[in-house]
Amino acid sequence: MKKGNLRLIISLAVVALLYVGGCLIEQTAGTKSMIVTVLQKGAVYALIAVSMNLLNGFTGLFSLGQAGFMLVGAYSYAILTIPMAKRAAVYQYYNGGWVQFTIGVIPALLVAGVIAALFAALIGLPVLRLKGDYLAIATLGFAEIIRAIVQWDTIGPLTNGSNLLKTYPTLKNIMPGNTVLFTFIIVGICIGLILLLINSTYGRAFKAIRDDEVAAEAMGINLFHHKQMAFVISSFFAGIGGALLAMYQGSLQANSFKSSMTYEILLIVVIGGMGSVSGSIMASFLFIACSEWWLRFLDAETMLGDFKVPLLAPGFRMVVFAVVIMVVVLFFRKGIMGDRELWELGGRRGAKGGRSVK
């Protein structure tokens, strides 16, 4: 017990340190620098990856619908927060659109999550009866259908059709100079809630379903009820994640929420370790740092004196990246963390399935 407390305190201290560090980096490096971008986007992806891990890693539901729910969240957020004065210009083809009110940023984030969760509840009713890869392909299909509907011209006054949404409050409008802190706080609260859930009775039921559906059912766990719950909660946070992504990007278009986005998040989860929250978080920052920043030199044709470095050309970065991912998938199937958490390292080897927290 005492040891557990100590570990909790250390974990909280590390988290606090990360927050202070993130803040300091932004203050010293300035908003223009790439590291701030990485911290912002990495945090947003961390939330989305953890939400996907809740489904794929903790409940064993192989869902590929994450991009669809992010899309719903992002659009809900943007539609509700575009300032009245800008609506006429943004909805230039739809006479200013249907929605003629705005709400605050934090309520809008919540609403974004709730609407995404509502969509999930509706979709979950039929889809969660499917198993394994059929579930994967059906959720992938629903994400594509959501995207088609959002781009549909008839509801253009609501969604602006296939056109860009802009001018809603972004990270930089809310806490100028402290964008990293803002992102970290929102993402931190959300991931904290997910962690609490995972360590509750519900979380243990999720893991039981993952490890053996039939046994879980025999133990009296209502399979559908719990799957539905995991699906809805995961989508709720994916919705908030989508809204944060919209805030980070500053402009929003349904077109970018393709299945390839879901694949990227899935690969992050795999790299971090299926069933490890801290793994997903680390993998998100690594993934974003590599793709946005560290590996960018691979895309530039480089001359060392008179010698032209071979292979370096636009697109090489993504090839290297994909090869690394394949190596992880094939040879390090457990990812960075396996199904253990950072704060469990050094202690007792985490037994599969259950682990005591308090």
Binding site: T37, V38, T170, S251, A289
Partner: protein
């Protein structure tokens, strides 16, 4: 640990930035060189590079500064555009040129605005590029104008029912399509509107819809990738009515698609290489010589030395940026942004002066015909609104 590595890397990246600091001013080039609009983006970059080869330095405060072009590929995608823009900003560019395609410009605009870096739109024609971004200026005409021009032209060709086909999610095409529809209906024409999704390769049904709908003109502003397929499919189905589009279609891909086929393709554009104004003629001959001297440049231009309008615009954009730097007499982005609205410049694509929103006041479009026999664009006429 990770943070430490990150900090170390950040430090490593900062070192060369200090080392290079002697009298260099960086101009960001924010263009697609891959993706749907990659072909056009490359031609725009060529124009900028040519301008840079003619004027590689600029004098600021009595000292000579070398202009360094920093080129980032926005991949024709709005989400990738944001990372590309961030990358440019993090490299401390003083001013940005680009992009080909309106959606990417609108997406990148926020990043530039937040960093206080002025951007000069080269061939992004959607009104919202400048309207919704205080740091975007633009040197080409706008879609409401272009749409009206093409609607007028369609009427002149004797069309009474138009089939308008655009790609979902492409701000450029959807916007231009809407303005065309508005203008064409205003002239008493009928319209059928349809969309296709990104990555579509099967255009048979769309062309069928145009034929069975009794349309006598097609207006399909879209990326050249799809344009080639649409032309191919229209020719395969033996349509006799003309195909019209906006500035993106002025590209070798269109010529190749139309070559040897029985099809009529028209587009509107910003510039004509047979323009006999002295500045334009000098640009055309110089640019052709520059292209022909280097095989890789010729490849980037689509394998021939036809001067694309976007190359001419790229050329002008670079010179406008230089004029702004001179007017500001500073290498600071903020000062350049302040000086830019007052800049006037006599470019090869016409006179450039900005209005309150930041748009160049341009009121002439060139209409061209893709000649299937010669495989070149024939100049048809210049058109302005209100004739």
């Amino acid at each position: 640990m990770k943070k430490l590595i990150a900090l170390l890397l950040a430090a490593m990246l900062l070192v060369p930035a200090f080392a290079l600091a002697d009298n260099v001013i960086k101009i960001g080039v924010f263009e697609p060189s891959t993706g749907d609009n990659g072909a056009g983006g490359k031609q725009e970059i060529l124009g900028i590079e040519y301008a840079n080869s003619l004027a590689p330095t600029v004098t600021i405060g009595g000292e000579e500064y070398t202009v360094e072009l920093v080129i980032e590929d926005n991949q024709s995608l709005t989400d990738k555009a944001i990372s590309a823009a961030q990358s440019l900003v993090s490299k401390d560019v003083a001013v940005v040129l680009g992009s080909y395609g309106s959606g990417v410009s609108m997406a990148g605009g926020d990043v530039f605005a937040e960093a206080g870096v002025p951007a000069i739109g080269v061939s992004c024609t959607n009104p919202n590029v400048t309207l919704l971004c205080d740091y975007y200026w633009r040197i080409c005409f706008l879609d409401p104008f272009q749409g009206t021009v093409m609607a007028n032209f369609a009427k002149e060709l004797g069309a009474s029912k138009a089939y308008v086909l655009t790609m979902l999610g492409e701000d450029y095409g959807v916007g231009l399509g809407k303005y065309f529809v508005e203008a064409f209906k205003g002239l008493g024409g009928e319209v059928i509107e349809e969309n296709f999704t990104e990555g579509t390769s099967d255009f048979a049904a769309y062309i069928n819809n145009a034929v069975t709908g009794g349309c006598d003109v097609v207006f399909a502003p879209c990326a050249t990738t799809y344009a080639a397929l649409i032309i191919d499919q229209a020719a395969a189905q033996g349509v006799t009515f003309p195909l019209l589009a906006g500035d993106t279609w002025e590209n070798s891909a269109i010529l190749n698609a139309a070559k040897g086929k029985d099809i009529k393709v028209y587009c509107s554009t910003f510039f004509d290489e047979n323009d006999d104004a002295a500045a334009a003629a000098e640009f055309v001959s110089g640019f052709k010589a520059w292209l022909n001297a280097d095989g890789s440049k010729l490849t980037n231009n689509g394998g021939n030395d036809i001067v694309a309008a976007v190359s001419a615009l790229g050329f002008d954009a670079y010179n406008v940026a230089l004029a702004a730097i001179k007017a500001a007499d500073s290498e600071k982005a903020a000062a350049i942004a302040e000086a830019l609205p007052g800049v006037t410049y006599e470019g090869v694509t016409g006179a450039i002066a900005f209005d309150d929103v930041g748009d160049a006041k341009k009121d002439m479009a060139y209409i061209k015909f893709a000649n299937p026999e010669t495989g070149a664009f024939d100049f048809v006429k210049t058109q302005s609104v209100g004739q």
